[in-house]
């Protein structure tokens, strides 16, 4: 199972890189010129992102460095304890929408502390894989086209994150037992 997964994930990109230009060439596309034409847009898009990325990452950075992060965890934990979210995974649940690298770091910490095959380790793994970094995606995707008013996308994205966390707690308890 693991071997098959590693094989698929290590071959998927090389496969696309092989097949797309090959099919293009066989269909009479000037592959090199087409590549350059598309690539020019890529550079511009990446540079346009900078202001949006700085805005959101700096705000999150200040929030974490100031100690407001720990304070918020203290406020929320009594509520989440009641609904069955184990205290050790609470920081992960809250970090998941804010920072992909941050939440992956927490998952790694939890695995070292509790072991990857413990209930906490399995729950953390499921939570990490079940949603993406909402604020990061929001910043990058809308930032690249200059959208500053995301309307209901923020609320809908966060509702998805919350549902993912609840579903992860439910299914992990059901499958592996707490």
């Amino acid at each position: 199972m693991v071997e098959a997964l590693t094989l698929i994930s290590s071959w998927a990109i090389p496969f696309v890189v092989l097949v797309v230009p090959l099919v293009g060439y066989l269909r009479g596309v000037k592959v090199y010129e087409a590549f350059i034409e598309g690539a020019e847009d890529g550079f511009k898009t990446a540079v346009n992102l900078i202001p949006y990325l700085v805005a959101i990452l700096a705000a999150i950075g200040i929030f974490r460095a100031s100690g407001a992060w720990e304070f918020m965890l203290g406020l929320i934990s009594p509520v989440t304890d009641r609904v069955g979210v184990p205290a050790p995974v609470l920081p992960l649940a809250l970090m998941r929408p804010l920072s992909g690298a941050g939440s992956l770091g927490i998952v790694a910490d939890l695995m070292t502390a509790y072991g990857p095959d413990s209930f906490i380790g399995r729950l953390a793994s499921t939570m990490q894989g079940s949603t993406d970094t909402t604020f990061y995606i929001l910043t990058v995707y809308f930032g690249s086209v200059g959208v500053t008013r995301p309307r209901h996308a923020v609320a809908a994205g966060l509702i998805g994150d919350l549902s993912g966390i609840i579903a992860a707690v439910f299914i992990t308890s059901l499958v592996f037992g707490s």
């Binding site: 696309v16 700085v54 200040i62």
Partner: protein
Amino acid sequence: MMNTIWLLLLVAGVVTAGLTGRVEAVTTGLAAASNDAIQLAIGFIGIMTFWLGLMKIAEKAGLVDLLARIMGPLTRHLLPGVPPGHPAVGAVLTNVAANMLGLGSAATPLGLKAMDELGKLNKGKKTASDAMCTFLVLNTSAVTVIPATVVALRASAGSSNPAEIVGTTLFATLCSTLAALTADRLLRGRQNG
């Protein structure tokens, strides 16, 4: 909403730092985070350039159209106000396909390309269109069939069965995507414009 969240992060951060006597943490924290943002953007440039180049070949070879034709009926329901033959349809589908396979580095450039096409339909307005919101939510809730990073992390942490969480992850991600799409649909009408 973005305004409120952003302001709250800043105000809560500076006030907490002031009250706990670690104001200098704000200065160092913001410097480090801004620097991270630039590093991230620079890392993006190469990968974006490559994937949008490759995407252009796929487009000219008719591969994107093919994908759009096969999965067309699905997108018609998902993306309101996008005409069936529009380039946005194919771009959205390549992003969804890359996401499902867990190809993070390819998914983002393809997603940005899709957002660009949706933005053209929205005539470059600063307010997101219905289709842009739905597409965004589809990405934030991320249907991942192969959570490759987590499986790798578990393996390196010495798990006896690193891939055992694939099933639970799939269940949780389907729940989150379903909830996010439902919320998107319900909230859409109430905040037009």
